[in-house]
């Protein structure tokens, strides 16, 4: 399929887009929450993939190759926007405070849509203290239960680099959360 697309076969390229867009969207969703940004990133990934099809040697899977392109494209988009990590986490909203109170001390298992939105906002607030690369490592390992090896494959980083990033990110996020809990 990759070879057919490389030769200019439109239907083969369309099939690649159809089959792998959920995966590319999933990667882009780690970096962006706005649909427009996720779609922009995903489109860029497929156009880039088409121009780089010649470099795909067929040793790994197309999905893995696209995941790596997606990760690098999203990181470049964030770098291009010159977004820097925040130095501190801003104050909690009432909803976030309620969420923390509800989940502190107990293993609250409630998963309503509203609650998960509050938790997602809270996560973004905590992740804002990290660099995009550290965010990526932490979200994959602690959020999606990915292994160090899986993260290394998806990003092209070495396993030791992934470990260092995850350690640093986890420590920063935990400290930011402790500050938030002390501010209540």
């Amino acid at each position: 399929m990759a070879r057919q697309a490389q030769a200019g076969d439109e239907s083969a390229f369309a099939e690649i887009v159809r089959r792998y867009s959920p995966r590319v969207f999933s990667v882009a969703s780690r970096f962006f929450r706005q649909r427009s940004l996720v779609e922009e990133a995903a489109q860029e990934v497929f156009l880039k993939a088409f121009t780089q099809l010649g470099s795909f040697e067929g040793r790994g899977s197309i999905e893995g190759w696209l995941t790596r392109i997606a990760t690098n494209t999203c990181l470049n988009m964030i770098r291009g926007a010159k977004r820097r990590p925040e130095s501190t986490v801003s104050d909690l909203t009432d909803d976030e405070q309620q969420w923390l109170e509800h989940h502190s001390g107990a293993d609250g298992s409630e998963r309503s849509v509203e609650n998960s939105l509050v938790a997602t906002d809270l996560a973004d607030r905590l992740l804002s203290v990290l660099s995009p690369e550290d965010q990526q490592a932490l979200l994959m390992i602690d959020g999606e239960d990915a292994s160090i090896k899986e993260v290394a494959e998806a990003t092209g980083w070495s396993e030791s680099k992934v470990k260092v990033r995850a350690f640093r990110a986890r420590k920063k996020v935990r400290e930011a959360m402790e500050k938030l809990l002390n501010r209540r």
Binding site: E10, S29, L47, G143, D145
Partner: protein, 159 residues
């Protein structure tokens, strides 16, 4: 283990999936140590919100494939045009404006020297020896004959 702080364990492994022995160590120590209890609580809540964030996925819209294919065709069309033609298309405005500017500068180069020379002559005549001697401004200039007659008339008067 009770006496050993657990912060390193918290930062080294995902609190979402600790092994049973790690979890019992963490909980045993957290009961005794206030700072580690706070750290454990923060780590547990962080993992919870991160899992919630990771579940937030945006699905591709039904039009996404059409959009990508349209962009792909556009890209193909651009690439099929020869490079020199593409270069000309993007640069023709700049090249045209540069040509107009060059023509205007050339025209000015041929017209300006004449004006400059006449201006130089005017300046020179304004500072001519006669003007200086006669103490006259350049506005009321005398002819050569007038100058001579003025000089010789003065000589005649002196005699």
């Amino acid at each position: 283990m009770k006496d050993k702080h657990i912060i390193d364990i918290l930062d080294n492994t995902s609190i979402a999936s600790p092994s049973e022995s790690e979890l019992s160590d963490i909980q045993a120590h957290a009961q005794e140590c206030v700072s580690c209890r706070d750290a454990y609580e923060a780590a547990r809540l962080s993992a919870k919100v991160l899992q919630s964030r990771a579940r937030t996925k945006i699905e591709p819209s039904p039009f996404f494939q059409t959009r990508v294919m349209a962009a792909w065709r556009e890209q193909q069309a651009v690439e099929s045009v020869p490079a020199m033609l593409r270069l000309w298309r993007s640069a023709r405005t700049l090249v045209s404006s540069m040509a107009v500017t060059t023509a205007a500068l050339a025209a000015l180069t041929f017209m300006l020297p004449a004006q400059t020379t006449s201006l130089t002559d005017q300046t020179a005549s304004a500072l001519s020896a006669e003007s200086v001697i006669m103490g006259q401004s350049s506005d009321d200039q005398m002819t050569y004959e007038q100058v001579l007659s003025t000089i010789y008339a003065d000589d005649d008067d002196a005699r």
